[in-house]
């Protein structure tokens, strides 16, 4: 094995300080940081949208006054959060940083493709911002036809083009991960010795690669229909608007798993690390991820139980939706099993992880309500659904993102963040989140529809409560921005392995050198071989 020793000692952060050395880098770690910058920006853009939405709903009449403004706000919130934060968040930042490190590789399989995917993402972001600045879009993030293709007054084509480009960025990332995981595993790193984080990114990438193209073509068809005033979704000529919904959800339901699967991976790393114990049921956790990725493709029709699809299709999609919930349940039980008889510590990453398990379980369980056909008829398209997917997406995925960020922060930056602030933020986010979204379950059950800028007065109290919670949540999300930025300059220097965790990424210095490892590591142990299990293992 040829090894170049020349640059292996310098940290990737000090390997060149020019703008060029960043913008033309093919180092996966630097690209990850480029993504961090972009994604943090979009998180706060989407967050501003959310804040204004909650502000409007403080009063039954709508404090913003104009329905059109409100519609454009929640559409922007949805588009930005889904395609510019939730989908790329973990894979492009932590994934890009960690996949080669965890594999024991020097870089991803296609480093230039990786850089290209960042540029595509930025281009998509600029187009989206352009669409936003010239007036935004008023269709919701779901772009349902014929509203989007014929009736919308917003900037549909620009928005659709932005999502289209972002899609190709995500395809490039997914393709890179899959090929890297197949081809660049270090000697001894068999499939069943791979950390769960890699497995879950593999499953995520499968979805990115196979579902995103469908969305891309569907959006092209919508753009065509909008530009030429005729298309395959046009009911006036016998086209079927439900075809659009089928195609849209063929992507957008699996996309939910794009968002949550990396979260599962993160939690499966953190829980063993802070329980000082092997992950319970490793193979079950791994294959549950793969099962979710595959079965996740078979359930999209459950978004259309009241849309006018056939009875048979509703029945088939309902039972398949229950099937996909089984592997998620398996995971939750396995995390609990990992904590059993562990040596549990409560550092900030673990607190976020515990928050994730609780919130995700609630999100998952409420998913059962909307998978049950007759209950879905009542609950769908109300705030119940809004609460359900925010529990999974925000409560689950964003908590996991923060957990991961804290866990690998010392590795990425070489600095420690202030622990007390980290714990405080984790608790504030958990509380704020529940106060914001729990009332929405009740609102939904009572019948409050989604996407209303004004609502009947009897829903006021719960809406005010929800908006109050949102302000706590906003503080919770701003805190890490502050103390993490602070730690970049004043944080204590981190050692190579501050948590005493297993995994190849902890065997290299913090921050890692440009070429990751001085010599290619050789893997001899299964993952999560914490001392506890080694001593008590009697095999």
């Amino acid at each position: 094995m040829t090894v170049t020793e020349t640059r292996s000692q310098t940290s990737y952060l000090s390997d060149g300080y020019t703008l060029r050395s960043w913008l033309l880098t093919t180092d996966h770690k630097r690209i990850a940081l480029l993504y961090f910058a972009a994604i943090t920006f979009f998180f706060f853009v989407g967050g501003i949208g959310a804040t204004l939405v909650r502000y409007n709903l403080l009063s039954p009449k709508g404090l913003l006054g104009s329905a059109e403004t409100y519609n454009r706000l929640f559409s922007m919130h949805g588009v930005v959060m889904v395609w510019f934060f939730l989908v790329p968040a973990v894979p492009t930042t932590l994934g890009n940083f960690l996949v080669p490190l965890m594999l024991g590789a020097r870089d991803l399989a296609f480093p230039r493709l990786n850089l290209l995917s960042w540029y595509l993402f930025i281009l998509a972001g600029l187009v989206a911002l352009y669409a936003l600045i010239v007036g935004g879009v008023d269709t919701g993030w779901t772009f349902y036809t014929p509203l989007t293709s014929f009736y919308s007054k917003g900037h549909v084509v620009a928005t659709v083009v932005a999502v289209f480009i972002a899609g190709f960025s995500s395809i490039a990332t997914g393709l890179n991960f899959i090929v890297s995981i197949h081809k660049l595993r270090a000697p001894g790193m068999t499939w069943h010795r791979m950390p769960v984080f890699l497995w879950s990114l593999y499953a995520t990438s499968v979805i990115m690669v196979l579902a995103t193209p469908v969305l891309a073509m569907t959006l092209l068809l919508v753009a065509f229909e909008r530009l030429f005033r005729i298309g395959v979704f046009d009911p006036a000529i016998g086209g079927d608007p439900l075809l659009f919904q089928h195609l849209f959800w063929f992507y957008s339901h699996p996309a939910v798993y794009i968002m949550i699967l990396p979260g599962f991976g993160v939690i499966s790393e953190i829980v063993p690390a802070f329980s000082r114990k092997e992950l319970f049921g490793y193979k079950f956790v791994v294959w549950a991820s793969v099962a979710i990725a595959v079965i996740g493709f078979l359930v999209w029709g459950h978004h259309m139980f009241v849309a006018g699809t056939s009875l048979y299709s509703a029945l088939v999609f309902s039972i398949l939706s229950y099937m996909v919930a089984v592997p998620s349940a398996i995971k939750v039980f396995n995390w609990l099993g990992t904590m059993h008889k562990g040596f549990i510590r409560f550092d900030a990453p673990m607190l976020y992880a515990l928050g994730f398990i609780g919130l995700f379980t609630m999100g998952g369980l409420t998913g059962l309500f909307v998978a049950a056909l007759a209950a879905d008829v009542h609950l769908t398209q109300t705030y119940f659904v809004v609460a359900h997917f925010h529990y999974v997406m925000v409560g689950g995925m964003v908590s996991a993102y923060f957990a991961a960020l804290h866990f690998w922060w010392p590795k990425i930056t070489g600095r420690l963040y202030p622990e007390m602030w980290g714990r405080a933020a984790a608790i504030i986010i958990f509380v704020g989140f529940n106060v914001t979204f729990f009332p929405q379950f009740i609102l939904g059950y009572l019948g409050m529809p989604r996407r209303y800028n004004a609502y009947p007065p009897e829903f006021e109290a719960l809406n005010v409560l929800s908006s109050g919670g949102a302000s706590i949540l906003a503080i919770g999300y701003l805190l890490p921005l502050g103390y993490l930025a602070w730690s970049l300059f004043y944080g204590e220097r981190a050692s190579a392995n501050p948590w005493g965790a297993t995994g190849l990424e902890w065997t290299t210095p913090s921050p890692p050198p440009t070429e990751n490892f001085e010599t290619t590591p050789v893997v001899t142990l299964p993952p999560y071989s914490y001392p506890y299990t080694e001593t008590s293992r009697d095999e």
Binding site: F297, W300, V316
Partner: protein
């Protein structure tokens, strides 16, 4: 090189034959249900291109795995996607109500 030449020309010949067959089948006076038969030669042609020209059989195992995944997922999209329009019926009331 010789083996490859034979292989390529065989594939090419087969492709042209299938194209002719496809053309012929389309001209047969078939009922509505049988119209889809035309796709059988087309799918065979795709297979021949994959094996003959793109050397999928000799490709790395990973590559074959990816190609298979693409085909399976396309089948999921088309299969489950058809389920709804093919089985969609409205349930009318059986008789007009009396007012």
């Amino acid at each position: 090189m010789k083996v490859r030449t034979t292989q390529l020309f065989t594939s090419y010949l087969l492709l042209l034959l299938l194209l002719a067959a496809e053309f012929g089948v389309a001209r047969l006076p078939l009922g509505e249900a049988a119209r889809g038969l035309v796709l059988i030669p087309a799918l065979m042609m795709v297979g021949i291109v994959a094996m003959g020209f793109m050397e999928l059989g000799k490709a790395p195992q990973t590559a074959r795995f990816f190609a298979l995944a693409g085909a399976v997922w396309l089948a999921i999209l088309l299969g489950l996607g058809c389920l709804d329009p093919m089985t969609r019926v409205l349930y009318p009331t059986q008789s007009t109500a009396v007012y």
